[in-house]
């Protein structure tokens, strides 16, 4: 099917999840992703699947844990304040090796913040976020089509690695309406012999992230460490635009990338050789591909909707030889192409 449908970002995630075989959705209302929850409340029963509006995000993430532990593809969606509440659950799921998809449609913060889009949860999503040693694969869509496609990829990666996966759009993308090509439903799903499905004709399964004796727990955490190494090696995804002759490369994801694209076109019209490097996986961060660019371009300009979180990973990847600047917005306000262009001009002229 290659018909195009006009769809809002939040809805595209929901439909992508359904196509990926999401069996259970648990969520709590919070702006700016309420449309996702409302859409699921209608569609999941239509598909014969499970929907529960929970009493809190705490409850939601723990329901995801229960459903996923029993072998179902399960997801929840929330925004930044709710994502903070879910860190405990995510740590438990990472420790117990439970696959799940968690959507955080980021909004202005900190605190209650506002309902505009932002990228202030980058650290929280990519550095683990909850307690203990773990990381979550973090996918950053930059278009409504990617909201659907990366939602489907999230379920596949979660099952592949038995790890939660974060889908990290922002509020602007959640509300954006763009044409989308509907994908084919997923029909094959991996076996889950570890799941708790009732001990019929097999020894019992236990799902936990605990051992009283540290000597017993360390081997389990070692497994997690090795898993993360595999993820870092195999799952990096990124996109480069007009990099070949660029002397200034912007680094951006999500809505900031969209503004940066416009600014890049404007800059090119002025004859400035500008390119964009877009990470699609924020974890694992495309460290090596970005590092390789440090030999090509002199200037790097990070565009993000936060005080400066992505820029730290960019600086780490590039090393000390590159000049890295920041043009940003925060507090729930979008960044305009004009602001970015002004920064480009400041650097290049």
């Amino acid at each position: 099917m290659s018909e195009k449908t006009l769809m809002a970002g939040n809805i595209a995630i929901a439909e992508g999840a359904i196509l990926a075989g999401c069996q259970a959705y648990f969520g709590y209302p919070i702006t700016p992703q309420n449309e996702l929850l409302e859409h699921m409340s209608k569609r999941m029963p239509e598909e014969g699947r499970i929907f529960v509006q929970t009493e809190s995000e705490l409850s939601a993430i723990n329901m995801v844990y229960g459903a996923a532990a029993s072998g179902c593809r399960a997801m929840t969606s929330t925004s930044s304040p709710g994502f903070s509440l879910q860190q405990e659950g995510l740590s438990y799921m990472a420790g117990a090796q439970i696959p799940a998809v968690v959507v955080n449609v980021m909004r202005g913060g900190p605190g209650l913040g506002d309902i505009g889009g932002a990228q202030g949860d980058y650290f929280q999503a990519t550095k683990g976020g909850g307690h203990g040693d773990y990381n979550l694969i973090t996918l950053a869509p930059a278009s409504v089509q990617e909201m659907m496609d990366l939602a489907m990829l999230a379920f596949a990666l979660a099952d592949k690695y038995r790890n939660p996966v974060i889908l990290l759009p922002d509020g602007f993308l959640g509300q954006a309406v763009e044409p989308v090509t509907m994908r084919q439903p997923v029909t094959e799903f991996p076996d889950k012999p570890w799941a708790i499905t009732g001990a019929v004709g097999r020894p019992k399964n236990i799902i936990n992230s605990f051992a009283m004796d540290p000597a017993d727990y360390r081997p389990r955490v070692e497994l997690l460490r090795q898993k993360l190494m595999k993820i870092r090696q195999n799952e990096v995804r990124y996109e480069g635009i007009d990099l070949d002759d660029a002397s200034l490369i912007m680094v951006a994801y999500g809505s900031a990338f969209r503004s940066a694209m416009t600014a890049m076109k404007m800059a090119r019209e002025e004859g400035l050789k500008v390119g964009i490097f877009r990470p699609i996986t924020l974890f694992p961060f495309p460290t090596k591909p970005l590092h390789d660019l440090s030999r090509k371009a002199k200037h790097f300009l990070v565009v993000e909707l936060s005080f400066g979180q992505l820029i730290e990973d960019v600086r780490l990847s590039l090393g000390t030889g590159s000049q890295v600047d920041l043009v940003n917005q925060f507090g729930g306000v979008p960044i305009s192409a004009d602001e970015i262009l002004a920064a480009i001009e400041r650097i290049m002229k």
Partner: protein
């Protein structure tokens, strides 16, 4: 064991239930958990649901629950067990997930989860072990600690003006539609233990019949943190806890009352 075999004495009257592992308990001498685990395991054997049972363990002395039962189990974060069990039941209606929670897990950090599981009428069972103290962490005040009672965080005795009043969980939850069977029992004497088993069995039968939320609160001794010997702890429970937490059935919908006639023995 000096006694020799007599042919006529071949019958085993009592032994470890199949649903219980041959696994050393970490519990203290005289702890009520040993009893309650046994009762749950016996009920699951008698109802023949071992292969469908899912133990949703919680945080506290109950944390190792899944090690002691001979069926699938999982840990849950502190207080969240009812949410975890809800999801398992919704996704797999044929499974029998039950939560096994203490007073901190259920009545402190987990109040939202248990209230809403009851309000939604989730078809799960909760075994709530109330010993009026925090066991695993060394004896601090629990939401169910009695007024005037010693704990390591209320060393002068719990003062309601500062630390509030103990919560009566059964009374509170039974006001919620969606609950089908709410009962409070105790395990301080053989007769009480027999009644406790009946209540637990009826709770699981409620679950199997799909009638809504079932919860059994079990008043249980904690000799270590009450700082009394096991035998004295039984007296302490009878004297101090029963008056404030009266045993009894707090919610029995008609359909459950009909089931009750089929629950026969301890």
């Amino acid at each position: 064991m000096a006694h020799t075999n007599d042919k006529e004495l071949e019958t085993v009257l009592y032994q470890r239930p199949e649903s219980m592992e041959a696994h050393p308990f970490h519990f203290c001498p005289g702890c009520g958990h040993g009893t309650v685990f046994r009762l749950v395991a016996e009920v699951i054997d008698e109802l023949k649901i071992r292969e469908r049972a899912i133990c949703v363990a919680s945080i506290g002395c109950s944390v190792n629950s899944y090690e002691y039962f001979n069926f699938d189990g999982l840990e849950s974060a502190h207080g969240r067990a009812p949410a975890v069990a809800t999801a398992i039941k919704r996704c797999h209606p044929h499974l029998v997930p039950f939560t096994y929670q203490g007073d901190g897990d259920l009545a402190a950090i987990g109040t939202a989860e248990i209230v809403h599981a009851c309000a939604r009428g989730e078809n799960i069972t909760t075994i709530f072990v109330n010993n009026a103290i925090y066991g695993m962490t060394g004896g601090q005040m629990a939401p169910t600690t009695l007024a005037g009672m010693y704990s390591t965080s209320t060393t002068a005795g719990r003062k309601p003006s500062l630390a509030g009043y103990p919560i009566r969980v059964c009374e509170m939850l039974s006001t919620l539609e969606g609950t089908a069977y709410i009962a409070r029992v105790a395990v301080h004497s053989p007769a009480a233990v027999r009644k406790a088993k009946q209540a637990i069995k009826l709770a699981f039968r409620t679950h199997l019949a799909g009638l809504g939320m079932s919860l059994v609160e079990v008043l249980s001794p904690c000799p270590t943190n009450w700082r009394v010997e096991p035998i004295k702890a039984m007296d302490w429970l009878e004297k101090n806890m029963l008056p404030y937490y009266p045993p009894g059935e707090y919610k029995v919908i008609e359909a459950v009352a009909a089931l009750r006639k089929e629950v026969s023995h301890a």
